[in-house]
Symmetry: C2
Subunit: 236 residues, 2 copies
């Protein structure tokens, strides 16, 4: 927790005073071992970053006076379209992506995604928000990513994706891609990553038709978690 993320409901008595309990209180008391007068890095969800000066701390709550000073880091102009991974990997991938600054994630069904994954509690709004918060606290960011689900591959790729791609670049990371994975793009970009077993040929065809370029990342076949971070960071 490099930044304490403050939510609207934390504020008491106007704009500059917060009261926290639960996980953040515990972290500040037990890990940071802060006491009255100490200053911590804070940020308001969706807003600015600054300092929180500890006014009072007891066994249950902490109160801070908040001064906001600067904007959060710029978002990464990258939309991540990801075949829904298994729940444990999803959790970690959501954190990695948030840490790297991704602000838009679309989870997609493909042939090799197990249908049962869509029933996982890891997909509840609350659980997803938990991972996003962990990522924001790590990266000293305040802007919550947005997530969408697309449970039908074909309508998404045929009807929706071409419109998203208009005017920007889109890449599918695929071990049999014909071009090397591009490096760097300050411009907005769409990155599509398949399931552990890979896209099936039909899916690759449809993605190409929608306007995506199929690229590879060398000979090695990466597990999903490594691939997500590796591909995003090369496009940063």
């Amino acid at each position: 927790m490099n930044l304490i993320l403050l939510l609207k409901e934390d504020f008491i008595a106007g704009h500059d005073r917060v009261r926290l309990s639960g996980r953040r209180h515990k972290h500040i008391r037990d890990i940071l071992k802060s006491s009255v007068g100490d200053e911590l890095c804070v940020g308001v969800e969706g807003s600015r970053i600054g300092r929180g000066r500890v006014l009072a701390i007891d066994n249950k709550t902490i109160e801070m006076n908040v001064t906001l000073e600067k904007n959060p880091p710029l978002p990464l102009p990258l939309t991540l379209i990801l075949a829904l991974p298994r729940p444990l990997v999803l959790r970690r991938v959501l954190i990695h992506s948030t840490v790297l600054g991704v602000k838009k994630i679309i989870l997609l069904h493909t042939k090799r995604v197990q249908k049962s994954y869509w029933q996982s509690p890891a997909l509840t709004e609350e659980k997803i928000r938990e991972q996003f918060i962990l990522g924001l606290e790590q990266a000293k960011d305040t802007v919550m990513p947005e997530i969408q689900f697309r449970k039908r591959f074909k309508p998404f790729v045929e009807d929706e994706l071409p419109g998203m791609i208009k005017g920007i670049q889109a890449f599918v990371a695929h071990s049999e891609g014909d071009a090397a994975h591009p490096v760097k793009g300050a411009r907005p970009v769409i990155l599509v990553i398949g399931p552990e077993g890979g896209f099936i040929p039909y899916e690759i065809e449809k993605l190409k038709e929608s306007g995506c370029r199929v690229v590879n990342f060398g000979e090695r076949i990466m597990n999903l978690e490594t691939a997500v971070v590796a591909c995003i960071s090369r496009l940063m």
Copy 2:
């Protein structure tokens, strides 16, 4: 397991026949559901990659006829020097690094590394080899990485690192680094990554003196696991 990694002791009757049991047998039988006549991707530790044709499979063992056809992927010419992370993260980082093709890893003690980590069972040769094997099986590689431990920061950085750096580039990934993280280097490179809490100023000074350039990866502070993959993949 995109490749079944074969060890010397698996070979029976000459150069082309192996008998496997345990984890690999279970994977081939239960996950791949292979039967007699099927061909699997195999590779011999430290050697070539090819196909294994199933000759016999029962409840305990599998026998294959092996044909080797090509060399493993080229190693990544990158030495990873990493402050020893906590055991759970170490496990995942060893897999990520192996998947990305790193062949030399040095685990280093720094001020903010908890001393108890050095006692972890995760550091036994057997446990480390397990992670390396998982990474090789994932990436379709056969060449085991080499790992070394350096429990004393100063002698390593003063006496050993300058010699390693001679003629090649070395980077320290550090949130306060003055240059942006470099992208791409086909040439050999050394990458130094600190502990979750970061290097202390003294350590950064010593690393600079040894010949390292201190670079950053943007405003965001990454957790160690994300940082390792992101930094390596930008240098690939």
